[in-house]
């Protein structure tokens, strides 16, 4: 990390700077000379560092502040500042040194995210297990109930036949009993009851399927040891995954594929396919919710590129996009903007985990209302023996 050095006079004007300072601030060294140091800080804390050093002669060590890089937005820096003292202890200026902390901040963010994932993963595993037990008997019982309902319906058909025959012939007592049966059948509305029984069971089965699906997602999220480490053709992984989901999206989506020649990548192909699947399904759902009932279609572009030691896979869509305020949270477990049943909020966090295990990274770019592009960057041989 290059340390930037700035020397300012008592009025906070730059009298000296090195190349590193110029690089961090995005200005030519000449442009820095004579300019006011306080002006580049985007936060009050940073401005106070230089001001107080000059006014009170205090020293700062490793204070965190944000500076304004021309054309690059705010850059986090760690800044140290010491007064230059003249005769009689008067402050004649200050020396400030600072370092670009962007990379460190990113790393810290990653560590936090990883820890969050790990603890939520444990929680998820426990919850999934607890849910599977009651789901075990609910699922099985519904299956049996459906059979019972079918049997009852068949049985009732016979009873109805019998009732008709008997109500016309036979002794008065038998006819009377048959009439009572007919009345009761009408009162309880047997036909409705039998068909609604079957419907209620069917709907409950759908619900239980849905829960099973959620638990499966939770399970995938906390257990990623599926599949074997191998050398794989990432284009092929992407393409076969696209083929799986294609039937579901073809009525709404035009799919464009731009595959580059890629070297074989050391990876867990099953896991990468899971990542691609999540991205594709999200892209499709984003398009679906943007188009609503209109007759238009959306676009998804799949692209692979080879950049030095990395391969880059991107999935771009023309869907609803992601609100700027949500971009920070989409990789959080359980973050979802989809309605109940449509999303569990685990797709991207699972993908994040997987890509990180591969030594890569995943990023999103989005314009609300316009579309989104997810990029997965994977080192060609990122997974060492320790994975």
């Amino acid at each position: 990390m290059n340390t930037a050095v700035l020397v300012v006079d008592a009025d906070s004007h730059v009298v000296r700077c090195n190349d590193a300072a110029a690089a961090i601030l995005g200005r030519a060294p000449e442009a820095l000379h004579g300019s006011s140091a306080g002006a580049w800080f985007v936060d009050v804390r940073g401005q106070a560092v230089v001001e107080r050093t000059l006014a009170e002669g205090v020293r700062f060590k490793g204070a965190e502040a944000m500076v304004d890089r021309v054309g690059g937005g705010a850059v986090p820096v760690g800044i140290s500042c010491a007064p230059i003292l003249g005769p009689g202890g008067r402050v004649r200026g200050a020396v400030a040194t600072f370092q670009d902390l962007s990379e460190m901040h990113q790393l810290r963010q990653q560590v936090l995210q990883t820890e969050k994932m790990a603890s939520i993963g444990q929680l998820a595993a426990g919850v999934a297990h607890e849910i599977n037990n009651p789901m075990g008997f609910i699922h099985a019982n519904l299956f049996q109930l459906a059979e019972y309902a079918g049997d009852l319906r068949q049985l009732w058909g016979e009873v109805e036949q019998l009732q008709k025959v008997v109500s016309q012939a036979g002794s008065p007592e038998v006819r009377e009993a048959a009439a009572r049966l007919a009345t009761l059948a009408e009162e309880v509305d047997v036909d409705f009851l039998l068909s609604d029984l079957a419907k209620a069971i069917r709907e409950s089965q759908e619900g239980s399927e849905r829960i099973r699906h959620i638990v499966q997602d939770l399970r995938d999220f906390s257990h990623q040891d599926n599949g074997e480490l191998s050398l794989a053709d990432v284009n092929q992984c992407l393409d076969s995954t696209a083929n799986i989901v294609w039937p579901m999206m073809k009525h709404l989506v035009q799919l464009e594929k731009n595959y580059a020649d890629l070297p074989a990548v050391t990876c867990y192909p099953m896991q990468l396919k899971q990542v691609f699947m999540n991205l594709l399904v999200n892209a499709f759902q984003a398009i679906e919710s943007k188009l609503g009932a209109s007759a238009e279609t959306g676009h998804i572009v799949l692209r692979t590129e080879h950049h030095g030691a990395d391969v880059v896979i991107s999935v771009a869509d023309t869907g609803v996009g992601i609100a700027a305020g949500d971009l920070d949270r989409i990789f959080d477990p359980f973050f979802t903007t989809k309605k109940v049943g449509a999303g569990t909020g685990l797709g991207l966090s699972t993908s994040y985990n997987i890509v990180q295990r591969h030594g890569g990274r995943i990023e999103a770019d989005s314009q609300a209302g316009e579309g989104t592009c997810f990029r997965v960057v994977l080192p060609v041989d990122g997974i060492g023996d320790d994975a």
Binding site: M135, F137, A140, H223
Partner: protein, 125 residues
């Protein structure tokens, strides 16, 4: 409900699982005995022989694998199977060590469960 088919002891601390399994297997022709605790299961095994044992894994006091290990010492001829909501947490070696021949996950697929049991117990109705 006693039948002439193979006998099966089912062990699960959740009584509703026991009744659901019995429902599922109602027409399979097994003679089914159930136990809600490991102790109860041992009592049954001391009293009588069974052709197969299907046990839950996560139970108070003892895991299903531990239980099946001990059950195998008492009734070596009984075919042993595990049913669990979380397969991945049981190492394969542990299963092999105590001679577990099949593993069923909850929620189970009715047809698969029946097929697994038929294969293991050789028959049924």
């Amino acid at each position: 409900m006693t039948r002439d088919g193979p006998s099966l002891l089912i062990v699960d601390d959740e009584a509703r699982i026991l009744s659901a399994l019995q429902r599922t297997l109602r027409r399979e022709g097994y003679e089914i005995v159930t136990a809600e605790t490991v102790d109860e299961a041992f009592e049954i095994l001391d009293r009588r022989d069974v052709d197969g044992i299907l046990s839950d894994h996560k139970m108070p006091g003892m895991t299903g694998v531990q239980f099946l290990g001990e059950a195998g010492r008492r009734r070596p001829a009984a075919v042993r199977m595990i049913i669990t909501g979380w397969t991945e947490e049981i190492p394969r070696e542990d299963l092999e060590e105590v001679g577990v021949c099949a593993l069923v996950t909850k929620p189970w697929d009715d047809a698969k469960l029946k097929a697994t049991l038929r294969r293991a117990l050789g028959g049924g109705a």
